[in-house]
Every structure is written in structure tokens, then in C-alpha cells.
Amino acid sequence: MQRLVESLRRLPGIGEKSATRLAYFLLGAPEDLVGELSEAIGRIKSETAICERCFNLGERSPCKICSQPGRNQSILCVVEEPADLAAIEQSQSFQGLYHVLGGALSPIDGMGPENLRIKELVARVRAGQVEEVILATNPNAEGDATAHYAAECLAPAGVKVTRIAYGMPLGGDLEYADHVTVGRSLENRQLVQ
């Protein structure tokens, strides 16, 4: 019991109290749930691979997306994390390939360019085939700065570099939106067909 509490405490966001609560929960939980959990934890390292091309997380490398036939090899979407990639995949509006940076530039957290896969991005683009890079990092300070940094690094490669648009979220309310978003939504307005 003590060993389990100690191990749980090492997880992010889990303190002594939560660790003890979780341990007691597991103690009283049905056999199959505990078995399933411990098996899943045991297999996470051996069965999860980082894709050698796009750095997505998956069961093998190259990942499902990189090895899927019919994907447009000439367009690359750059995201911060695998979860962002999953969100774009879910939208079913992108048929190209991805590049996962592994975070965003955040000097105050000690995250510099050397901690991101920017060199790998430039190398991928230089290797040929890619005609457009879409920078889909988050529209916050870190994501914007990362996008500008990546664009600077990509400039010598002479590839078309674009940035995802800012705009009003679906179900949003103009009255409650910040003035930058409202301004950008007007700049990026579209013809009503």
C-alpha cells in the first residue's frame, strides 16, 4: 500500500492526499478494473512509439497517418502536441501530413528552440516534396511566437508558410469576445455564398 501511494505521488498534479485516496479506491475496486489498469500501464512504454517522421504518438513508427496512402505529401501541418493533431484529424478537414513540435517556445519555463522539433521540421521541408507548411500552433503568446520563429527558420527553404486563422468560435458571442478576436474576424471575413 505504502509503495503504491509513493508511486502515485510522483505523477503530475497528485499530492499525498489524492495518492492515498486513489490507493484506497484501487484496494476496493473490482479485480478486472485493477487488472486492466495495471496491464495498460505495463504496456504503455513497450507499445507506444514516437513516429520518426512526424513525431506523433502511436502504436508504431511511421504512425498510421504517415503510412496512410492517399495523404497529400506536399502539405504539412505543424502543431504543438499530439492532442492538437488529434483535434485536427477529428475535424476531417485536413488531408496532408503533420509535424508535432513537442510544445511551444516559453522562455520563462526554460522552453527554447532546442527543446522543440524545429530543426527536424526544416530538414523535412528541405528534403523536398513539401510545398506548403501550415503553422497550427495555439493562438496565444507562446504559440504565436513559435509560429513566427518557425516561419523565420523556414524562410530560406523558400516554401509557402501559412498560419491558421483567428476568428469567432462557434456558439460564441460578439458581446463577450475580446477586441483582438473581433478585429481578426472582420479582417478574415468571407463572402456569403
Binding site: 517556445l105 522562455p107 520563462i108 503568446a141 513566427h148 463577450y176 475580446d178 477586441h179 483582438v180 478576436t181
Partner: protein, 257 residues
């Protein structure tokens, strides 16, 4: 519950629990204040796009007495200083400045002159976005940040006897926080930093100049190295450790004339 309304600059934002954010704010009259924004990551309605580093906001905070942790009730964006995101050197210098203020600004209303610190921070973020950051601007900005924090180094007269410094070069004593006259420089020992009077003059001007006009002050070569060293050693003495954004800033400014 006491309510507090006013301007704020976001110094830092950290995710907290499942759906909350903790933000470090710099506010006039108050200084640094840590606030929690409940459900900020789930509901964008109360804080749309506003809890981001560098942002200048109008906020409403409720505070229980005796506790310095405030609850952010509302935040309206005044300016996001977008320029700071659009160049790596701008982003690096602004991050460095904000981290310095986050570490050094007095917590929740114990020190006087917080209005001045806030005004400095606000105009510094604007100016960094408009100028081309280089080693000189970093040196001046940092010096002025210490001044705004109430830690102005003595550059006019000897910290021991009050005599004006004379001669081509004098000593600067980091622990004593200022320059020494010729006599005291000689007696000062080996820990003194050696500074030309010309360099001191430029640093004194930087303290007086409006932030917008710092670009007009000339400082290069040996004088820049001397001035940067004085400011850097002064920073380390008062801070005691390396800021996380320091390396990124140095790499970004490397090779910029």
C-alpha cells in the same frame, strides 16, 4: 469578500487542477498579486483570450481578508502587445523582463511606489515591441527595471564618502550598490568592477531618458561590455540565481549589433 478593480499586466499563467488557471498579475498600487481564475480553461466566456502572458487587462478580483490569493472574477483585454509575439528577440526580451518582475516585484501591496513600477512595465512592453532589441536595449531596460523596483544603483557619487568619481576609470562595488571615488576604489579590493566614467555617464542618462528614446543613446564595444557586466552582476547579486529566460535571451541577441 473585498472586491478590487483595476488595471493589470499578466506576468505568468499556470494551469491549475482540471480546469482552473493561476495568474500572476502586476497591478498599480498593489504590486504583484496571485489570482486564481476558476474554470478559465473550460469557460472562455468570462476570460476570452485575456489570460495570456504580457496582456494588459482590466480586472475584477475578489479577495478574502488576510489571504493574498485573489479570485479573478472578470478580465477584459485592453492590449495584448501583439508585436511582442512577432519577432523572436522581442519575445525573448519581453519574457525576460516579465520573469524578472515576476521574481522581484513585491507581493500584494507591502511596498510603496507600485504605480511607478506598473507604469514602467506597461511602457517597457510597448517600447520593446516597437524597437529592435539588442544588447544595449537589454542593458538599459534591465537597469531601468531595477530602478523601478526601487533598486537604483548609485552612479553619481562614491557610496562611501559621497565624492564624485574622477579619473578615466573607477570601481563599482556590487554589494554596496554603486561607484567608488578614486581613493576608495584603490582601497576597495579586487572584487570591484572597473568602469570608465564615460560608461557611467551613459548609464546615468539611461536612467533619466524616457523609454521611447533609449535607442538614441549610444553604447557599443568596450563600454557596452562594461555596462552589461555591471548590470548583470548587479542583477545576480539581488536575484541570486539565473532567470529561466536568460539563456534564450542571450541566444536570441547573439550576433545582433
Amino acid at each position: 469578500m473585498a472586491s478590487l478593480e483595476g488595471e493589470a499586466i499578466v506576468l505568468r499563467v499556470v494551469e491549475y487542477g482540471e480546469s482552473d488557471l493561476v495568474a500572476h498579475l502586476l497591478m498599480p498600487e498593489i504590486g504583484r498579486l496571485t489570482v486564481i481564475a476558476k474554470h478559465a480553461r473550460k469557460s472562455r466566456r468570462r476570460f476570452p483570450g485575456s489570460l495570456d502572458i504580457f496582456n494588459h487587462l482590466t480586472v475584477r478580483i475578489s479577495r478574502r481578508r488576510q489571504s493574498d490569493l485573489g479570485f479573478l472574477e472578470q478580465a477584459i483585454l485592453r492590449s495584448p502587445f501583439l508585436n511582442l509575439r512577432h519577432g523572436v528577440r522581442h519575445y525573448a526580451l519581453a519574457s525576460y523582463l516579465v520573469e524578472l518582475l515576476d521574481r522581484m516585484a513585491p507581493e500584494a501591496g507591502v511596498a510603496p511606489d507600485m504605480d511607478r513600477l506598473f507604469d514602467f512595465a506597461l511602457s517597457a512592453l510597448g517600447v520593446i515591441g516597437e524597437l529592435e532589441p539588442d544588447l544595449k536595449l537589454r542593458c538599459f531596460m534591465e537597469l531601468k527595471a531595477f530602478d523601478a523596483l526601487g533598486l537604483r544603483p548609485e552612479l553619481e557619487q562614491c557610496v562611501r564618502c559621497g565624492d564624485p568619481p574622477r579619473g578615466p576609470k573607477v570601481g563599482f562595488s556590487v554589494p554596496e550598490g554603486g561607484v567608488l571615488c578614486g581613493v576608495h576604489s584603490l582601497a576597495g579590493g579586487s572584487n570591484l568592477l572597473s568602469v570608465h566614467l564615460g560608461t557611467l555617464r551613459v548609464l546615468r542618462q539611461a536612467l533619466i531618458y524616457d523609454l521611447k528614446h533609449l535607442g538614441r543613446l549610444g553604447l557599443s564595444g568596450e563600454a557596452l561590455a562594461e555596462a552589461s557586466n555591471v548590470v548583470f552582476r548587479f542583477q545576480r547579486f539581488h536575484l541570486g540565481f539565473e532567470l529561466k529566460s536568460e539563456r534564450f535571451l542571450e541566444e536570441s541577441l547573439r550576433g545582433v549589433a
